[in-house]
Amino acid sequence: MKSAVMTFPASNCDRDMYDALEKITGKVPHKIWHQDTEIPPVDLIALPGGFSFGDYLRCGAMAARSPAIKQVLAHAQRGGNVIGICNGFQVLTEMGLLPGALMRNRSLKFVCKTVNLKVENANTTYTSAYHENQNIEIPVAHHDGNYFADDETLTRIEDNGQVVFRYVDKGGEVSKDANPNGSQHNIAGITNERGNILGMMPHPERFIEDIQGGTDGRGFFESIINSLN
């Protein structure tokens, strides 16, 4: 499985993503700079977390208009796989590759903590190593993770099984208290209809070794390897 990690000015989880991909896939990912006009042929493009362009104007807005984005679009249209974690998720919605938008957290505050996620759909490229309804622990760290979509869109993505991760409590219940940012339906991560593009606010790349506090993020990368190898 060949992968590439994109860096925008002020991306800051690019190295973490790179390391996680390397550690788990055993292959060194390519690096893409936001101004590159060509991207090497890869199976997976990862848009990492961070504060691309300072998150000024709107999170992900300026990154979504970077020169290299054209190549990401072409890759996605060919059915290539794309993941966006945190800021990367925001970029994907700004690009229009994923429905909805990510707004300021309900608390208006940045939130960094470990949350519980329910794997709603274990039948995707990104979740096959988990089992359906598995309750996993992954950290979040964001200011704008409040997922919004109009009712029609929400119904559609729910019906299609595009909601893959949802914030739950320790017991697995979807509750207001378990929702760190006010997102609709406690949505933490979604795919597009075709299933080749995924965006999520939590950071699986931060939880891949015991010493980091947990290893539930590994399943995410292992799913990708299973599906793409």
Partner: protein, 79 residues
């Protein structure tokens, strides 16, 4: 010319910032505030001197960058 752009949330889109302001105003003892909506205000200095051209120009900027059409509306004033 100067362009003033107002970017506001579409009807029906939740507005956490507006809500928080309303809440804080209430806590400060300001009553009679029925609703608060927060948007962005962007001022642009343009070298274009034709009002219509400037308008088209800025409209294009709004569509391509300044606003997110999924959740936001924009309004442009040129003077």
């Amino acid at each position: 010319m100067k362009a003033r752009v107002h970017i506001t949330l579409k009807n029906g889109v939740l507005d956490p910032q507006g809500k928080a302001i309303q809440h804080a105003l209430l806590a400060l003892g300001f009553d009679g505030v029925d609703d608060v909506r927060q948007g962005k205000y962007i001022e642009l200095d343009l070298s274009e001197n034709d009002k219509d051209k400037a308008h088209t120009h800025v409209e294009d900027m709004c569509k391509k960058l300044l606003s997110n059409m999924v959740i936001e509306n924009y309004a442009i004033d040129i003077d």
